[in-house]
């Protein structure tokens, strides 16, 4: 593949560019596989990656690294990199030091009694190599998954114009009641309430009656009552009308005693009849 590699994700590559440097400059005894140049150009993902490369290229078991040999090869690569004046990430030098230390510990003669117990000096390095290798492999596996836009595509069909509709919010009755409770508490209405019986249906009926008379016309008083609602319904309407009259939202007109009464929306004019009743007592 000759696909361009996303440039934004390449910044950390330490050996990224080697141009026109002849291979003959490399030390003679450096282990160079036939496709080494290609690998050089590909660059490594860090010292662990380089070490893994050295191990894999020689088909060595990661659990049995000939440390002196690998160390020398590693150092030779580092030298080449330096010769080629490539900027070397600090991690490579840290690894070089670590390898040198392991190598020297391997060379120390061990007291015979301790042979079995003492941890192999290579253990930590091997652990890190194996751990890195797992994720290196996992990255390749993920890269091989069928990917949207490369291997598979979301299928879509034309569905005409998209008319975006905004839906109304859902509210539960409990939410509404809790809101009311809060606002009443804030207004300290609980303290000032009179205990009187005013079914909410009267309030609702007040709205209904008011809405009815909004046309500004006179309405026959008796027409506001619906006998089919039964006695309770008639009482509710009556209470609503009384309350509206008291609040001067309704105007009651009667031409003469016992003549039909008419109602219309209040107009701020003096109430035409003497509405000299006690406050409605709903209880």
């Amino acid at each position: 593949m000759t696909d361009p590699i996303d440039p934004t994700v390449q910044a950390e590559m330490p050996f990224a560019i080697i141009q026109g440097e002849p291979l003959s400059q490399l030390p003679r005894d450096l282990y160079i596989p036939p496709d080494a140049l290609e690998v050089f150009l590909e660059a490594f993902e860090g010292p662990l990656d380089l070490l893994l490369y050295l191990i894999k290229r020689q088909n060595l078991d990661i659990l049995d690294i000939p440390i002196a040999q690998i160390t020398r090869q590693y150092m030779e690569y580092i030298e080449v990199m330096k010769e080629l004046r490539l900027e070397l990430a600090a991690e490579y030098l840290v690894m070089a030091a670590m390898l040198a230390e392991i190598k020297s510990r391997m060379l120390l003669p061990k007291p015979p009694s301790d042979v079995a117990e003492e941890a192999d000096p290579r253990a930590e390095l091997i652990r890190r190599l194996m751990e890195y290798e797992r994720y290196k492999q996992a990255a390749e596996d993920i890269d091989a998954l069928p990917r949207e836009g490369r291997d598979v595509w979301q299928a879509s069909a034309d569905a005409g114009e998209r008319k975006v509709v905004r839906l109304a919010a859902e509210v539960s009755l409990k939410e509404l009641l809790l809101a009311f409770k809060d606002v009443l508490q804030r207004a300290e209405m609980f303290q000032t309430h009179h205990v009187q019986r005013e079914p909410l249906s009267v309030r609702q009926r007040m709205s209904d009656v008011l809405a009815l008379v909004q046309d500004g016309e006179f309405h026959d008083f008796s027409a506001l009552f619906d006998p089919s609602e039964g006695r309770v319904g008639v009482v509710v309407t009556f209470l609503a009308i009384l309350e509206l009259l008291k609040e001067q939202l309704l105007e009651l007109v009667q031409a003469e005693p016992y003549a039909p009464m008419h109602l219309r929306a209040g107009r701020g004019e003096p109430v035409e009849i003497d509405f000299n009743q006690p406050e409605p007592d709903f209880s």
Partner: protein
């Protein structure tokens, strides 16, 4: 390349592109040695159209080429894809709504009095648009402010027959205790109740089965 493969590639391309493709655009998808002639491409398109005869989609030739489109008969369902999720109502809106329900007819100024803050016009507009409130009259004071009341739609939405079914102020103080008896708590309001205005609230109040729900409903202080 066999005809089935040509058809598959044509279908794949049309669905992956999500836009109309011309015969030329389809043709260049094939490398030179396998490229079908225009006749073969036409045939593949014909076969696709036939494959779709009993499906949700159809092949259509439009100005800019061939496209696969969803059948118009399914538009009413597909349209729901573009419905936007509603935002939740604000506390201010709910309080305003509650005050209108309990204290109707009530003017905006009166609501503001109780709440102690002014009400934004958008709240009143939302409640109107939702058809939960209506103007039921005008208060006879300077400016003749509108008075608001609830609507039938309001009752339907909250699944109550009349405002009587709302708890009284006294009960509100102990709202959590009465919750189980009323259709609260449901995030989605219950199905609208039957259209029965004021049908004998008294019997409900005294009926035995309903006694739990309706007890304490009688003292209903709402005025000052």
């Amino acid at each position: 390349m066999n005809q089935k493969k040509v058809k598959d590639i044509v279908e794949a391309a049309l669905l992956a592109a999500g836009r109309p493709l011309t015969l030329d655009q389809l043709s260049v998808l094939f490398s030179e040695d396998e490229r079908p002639d225009p006749q073969q491409l036409r045939k593949a398109l014909d076969q696709l159209a036939k494959d779709y005869a009993d499906r949700a989609i159809e092949l259509k030739e439009v100005g800019s080429g061939f496209r696969i489109q969803v059948r118009a008969v399914l538009a009413m369902w597909v349209q729901r894809l573009w419905e936007e999720r509603p935002t939740r109502y604000s506390r201010a809106l709910l309080e305003t709504m509650a005050l209108i329900a309990y204290r109707q007819p009530i003017t905006r100024a009166e609501i503001e009095d109780v709440r102690g803050v002014s009400i934004s016009t958008s709240i009143m507009k939302t409640l109107h648009d939702r058809e939960w409130i209506r103007i039921v009259g005008h208060r006879d004071v300077p400016g003749r402010p509108a008075m608001y009341g609830t609507t039938k739609q309001f009752l339907d939405y909250f699944g109550i027959k009349s405002l009587d079914e709302l708890p009284t102020l006294a009960e509100l103080r102990d709202i959590d205790a009465i919750t189980p008896e009323l259709p609260f708590g449901d995030d989605v309001p219950p199905a609208p109740a039957a259209v029965e205005m004021m049908e004998e609230p008294a019997t409900l109040r005294h009926g035995e089965e309903e006694s739990d729900a309706d007890e304490g409903k009688t003292p209903s202080p709402t005025r000052h």
